[in-house]
């Protein structure tokens, strides 16, 4: 395993009873890379992300994130990563500023740091006027931009984004990707899942999971050439269709 990869998985495997959700996947993600982690529903993406973020132990294999072993050094890993998902990221009954303060505290920032970063974050997002609003009252697109900024408040080395743009309007979706690029330009590695295949094109490299395995990995251009496809959508459909029978059984 190379020392300076941001994420490194080697034969990472997770079984649930007789079902192998993640089947010996190996890959590495370079620092500052925008890495798209794609796959059909039930292909094993969420299980893999839960292992990489130290939330779930593997059945076998190993993984290092930010240079630490995710199983023996899980707490150190958690301090060095950010995480946001579509389903849950912010507390809806807290205000915008309260959410920022809460997460700053969870990540161990000093009060003065939290106040400074909160002001800067609100200014960058243009949310200063909404600092006292309940998160529940914000449009989804705002919430997702705020959640991403909060996931970055402790300046993590790697941020995991699980379907961050689902249901978001097309303009905000693109603004969100510009935030991803700004983060990557600042040296943060971005590990992102999406069902929007146009977004797969925005990644430096993409992996596609099919039935627990990584069926393809490369830059969008490489994958389109390899599968003789005009778009990533076509690449995705071809790979997933090639596995019809098995994919259906992989319900989780």
């Amino acid at each position: 395993m190379s020392a300076d990869a941001a994420v490194e998985a080697h034969a990472l495997t997770r079984r649930f009873g007789a079902f192998t959700a993640v089947d010996a996947i190996s890959f590495s993600v370079a620092q500052g890379e925008v890495f798209g982690f794609l796959g059909a529903n039930g292909a094993g993406k969420t299980t893999a992300i839960r292992m990489l973020t130290g939330l779930l132990a593997p059945t076998s294999g190993e993984a290092r994130v930010a240079g630490r072993d995710v199983f023996t050094q899980a707490e150190e890993v958690k301090r060095r990563i950010g995480y946001m998902s579509q389903r849950f990221s912010l507390y809806e009954d807290l205000t915008v500023r309260e959410n920022i303060t809460l997460y700053g505290g969870i990540y161990g920032l000093a009060d003065r740091q939290i106040a400074e970063r909160a002001d800067r974050l609100l200014h960058t997002l243009g949310f200063t006027h909404a600092a006292g609003d309940l998160v529940r009252s914000l449009p989804l697109g705002w919430r997702q931009k705020l959640a991403f900024s909060v996931a970055m408040i402790h300046q993590p080395e790697i941020v995991f984004l699980d379907e961050p743009t689902g249901g978001v309007d097309p303009i905000t979706r693109r603004q969100f990707w510009e935030m991803i690029y700004a983060a990557a330009a600042g040296g943060t590695t971005v590990f992102v899942t999406t069902h929007y295949m146009d977004e797969a094109e925005y990644c430096d490299r993409v992996s596609i999971m099919v039935a627990g395995r990584i069926a393809a990995l490369g830059t969008p251009d490489e994958l389109k050439r390899k599968f003789e496809a005009a778009s990533m959508d076509e690449v995705f459909v071809r790979l997933a269709r090639s596995n019809e029978g098995g994919g259906k059984e992989a319900a989780a």
Partner: protein, 323 residues
């Protein structure tokens, strides 16, 4: 929204909505919308979360009352005639709404019994869809994959033979392959004569509809056949390809006539503010500008707008942005 030329909503149209509004506290969920859906068509509502799609579907399926305006479905008023209407519409809500602890078969039997029928009596209708999940009929619904849950929910919405089907974001969160299969199924149902009203946040799914309404912030931005909407794009639109994509975006935005620059898959779409200018002229102007900015390898071509281009141009500002 003009509805000129669309008369007699009760007999010809499956749905006729006139000036419907609905407010929840401070939020104007629907802001006086009007449209019609013809019998036998697939009519799509395309728009982001929070656009008002779910509120509209709940009004059309008699689950909530509008504050203002009228809505007729199958010629029946959604407020006055709700009991007559309920047995004739099928509704698949956006969130997974089946009983996770019941099996596939038990869910279907339950929904059939609510409408006084049985799975057996309706089997022929749902068979094309049900066969795809039948081997899992004893599995708990909560343990199905996303694509299979959607198919089961569709079967449950169809089991009482509705004349019109309302599907609220049936493909949200579903992977690209399962989404295609789902739209194939809708095409088959339409071929059987069913009217389908469906909403989605995925712009590329507009092409699977006969007509679409673009909806944002409780208002309809445009209604037409998907191909016709792009044809009305008001400004010159260019596709730009090149390396160093995000620097390329910044360079294009600096152009004095840039209206908007957005990434679209492996291209950028550049809209110029010179209304009426020839697209070829604008393209060569932009190509020259990019060469001067150090992007000599960039390729610039005029293009026809798609639904997502139109949607963003009509939306103007992202959702919730200060006006």
């Amino acid at each position: 929204m003009s509805v000129a030329g669309e008369r007699d909503p009760s007999t010809e149209n499956a749905v006729a909505v006139d000036g419907v509004a609905k407010r929840f506290g401070k939020v104007q969920a629907l802001d006086g919308i009007s449209f019609t859906v013809a019998l036998g068509e697939i009519f799509g509502f395309i728009g982001p979360d929070g656009a008002g799609k779910t509120t509209l579907f709940r009004i059309l399926t008699t689950l909530i009352l509008p504050d203002a305006g009228t809505a007729r479905v199958l010629g029946l008023d959604v407020v006055r005639d709700l009991w007559a209407l309920r047995t004739r519409v099928g509704y698949m809500p956006g969130r997974f709404s089946l009983y996770p602890d019941l099996s596939v078969e038990e869910n279907l039997a339950f929904f059939a019994s609510v409408f006084g029928t049985t799975l057996k009596a309706q089997y022929d209708l749902i068979a094309p869809i049900y066969r795809q999940i039948e081997e899992f009929r004893e599995r708990r619904a909560g343990a199905l994959s996303g694509g299979m849950k959607q198919k089961l929910a569709l079967c449950c919405a169809l089991v009482h033979r509705p004349e019109i089907l309302f599907l609220d974001e049936p493909t949200t969160g579903v992977d690209a392959v399962s989404r295609r299969e789902f739209w194939d199924l809708l095409g088959e149902l339409r071929a059987g004569g069913l009217t389908i009203v469906v909403s989605t946040p995925y712009m590329e799914e507009a092409g699977r509809c006969d007509r679409v309404a673009l909806i944002a912030s409780g208002r309809i931005l445009d209604v037409d056949a998907p191909g016709a909407i792009g044809g009305r794009y008001p400004l010159p639109l260019l596709a730009v390809r090149g390396s160093r994509r995000f620097e390329l975006i910044q360079a294009l935005r600096k152009h004095p006539h840039a209206r908007s620059v957005y990434p679209f898959g492996d291209e950028l779409h550049y809209t110029d503010d010179r209304e009426g200018a020839g697209a070829d002229e604008v393209a060569s102007d932009i190509a020259a500008w990019l060469t001067a900015e150090g992007f000599a390898d960039a390729r610039v071509e005029p293009m026809r707008a798609g639904i997502e281009d139109s949607f963003m141009a009509l939306m103007g500002t992202p959702e919730g942005a200060a006006a």
